[in-house]
Symmetry: C2
């Protein structure tokens, strides 16, 4: 619905803004904005208030690089966690997802991306120097790291980055592991792709 | 990632708010909020500003019930449109979608829902009185309506509402039609459900 006046109105502008968010197309954006318009005005106000607070209150943790309100973040400053294991993730969001599973007892390191030459992302663009400083003890926190778990996506970029880190860090007295890749729980051999199936074979475990 | 402090932080609160919007689950909400956090702060600010403007600037059109900045809306106040045809839609969003197709030359009437007894929505909850006032000429605008196109979803609720309106308005000198229901363009007979196929047969057109 174009307003009769020249420029797009607030409704159209919001639809355009929402449609640029990941996973939201033009149609879903319209649905969302009309839903907000149909809802109690408090909803729009709440989202607006939180959004304007977002960048003011959330910062990068100076140790792991995750998003946090307080620096260092609650994970890095938690003495109950195992600081001898660092889980290396691509993004702060991956860190959140692993945290939500409540399975992992150690700390994190956010790379801020994966090596992707075609997109112009090289090792220098990632937070690798900081990772090394956490391993060689030059970091103020003096973590005594024994294991590095590379929790990177099983994609070309993830594989490349894992290989790069493995070679780069081979002289450090630290064990480097990577998350198991294979069939998802509840999956069906019939529908699994060939690459995943072959990885499942190579990574088979004794029962 | 739970912040060490008691309550959820702005990040968690935003994820919860976004996950309540239509079509967005907990995971997509996380992806969206982290995307906003990773983007230029202007993005969050723009969305926040537009959201706080939304309810202040957008109102219901007093004639058709669609959302608009100016009352009456650009469609109702457009003398170039055919005011003798009213397209009856469930929601302002459906009105937007039909407008975006740039095919329909007439005006609209937003019912604000469909008759759904199980959900407690009866005819009295819909904008039917207003529709009648547009037909019997008691409305200030004095539209001379010749056709009413019921553009309601081909669902039980849509069918019920169409039937109800058809009976209610049978004495008005107005032709009542309904959008054709049948196979979507590009569809495949093999994959079409039985009900749609039978509607396609009943609604077959001479070529």
């Amino acid at each position: 619905m174009n307003s009769g006046v020249k420029g797009p109105n607030v409704l159209d502008r919001l639809v355009t803004l929402f449609s640029k968010l990941p996973g939201i197309g033009k149609k879903s954006a319209g649905r969302i904005v009309y839903h907000i318009l149909d809802s109690n005005p408090m909803l729009a106000e709440n989202i607006a208030n939180e959004l304007s607070l977002l960048h003011k209150t959330i910062r990068r943790c100076s140790i792991c690089g995750g998003f946090t309100e307080n620096n260092p973040c609650s994970v890095c400053s938690d003495s109950g966690r195992d600081h001898s294991i660092i889980c290396v993730v691509e993004s702060a969001q991956d860190m959140r997802i692993i945290e939500d599973a409540r399975e992992y007892p150690g700390v994190y390191h956010v790379l801020g991306g994966l090596i992707a030459p075609l997109e112009g992302v090289g090792p220098a663009n990632l937070s690798i120097d900081k990772l090394i400083s956490r391993l060689d003890g030059s970091h103020q926190e003096g973590e005594n790291v024994k294991e590095l778990i590379l929790a990177l996506n099983p994609t070309v970029e993830g594989d490349t980055t894992a290989l790069y880190l493995q070679k780069l860090l081979k002289d450090f007295p630290v064990e480097i592991t990577r998350l198991a890749s294979g069939m998802p729980v509840g999956g069906n051999i019939e529908y699994i792709d060939k690459l995943t199936l072959s990885r499942s074979f190579r990574g088979r475990v004794k029962i």
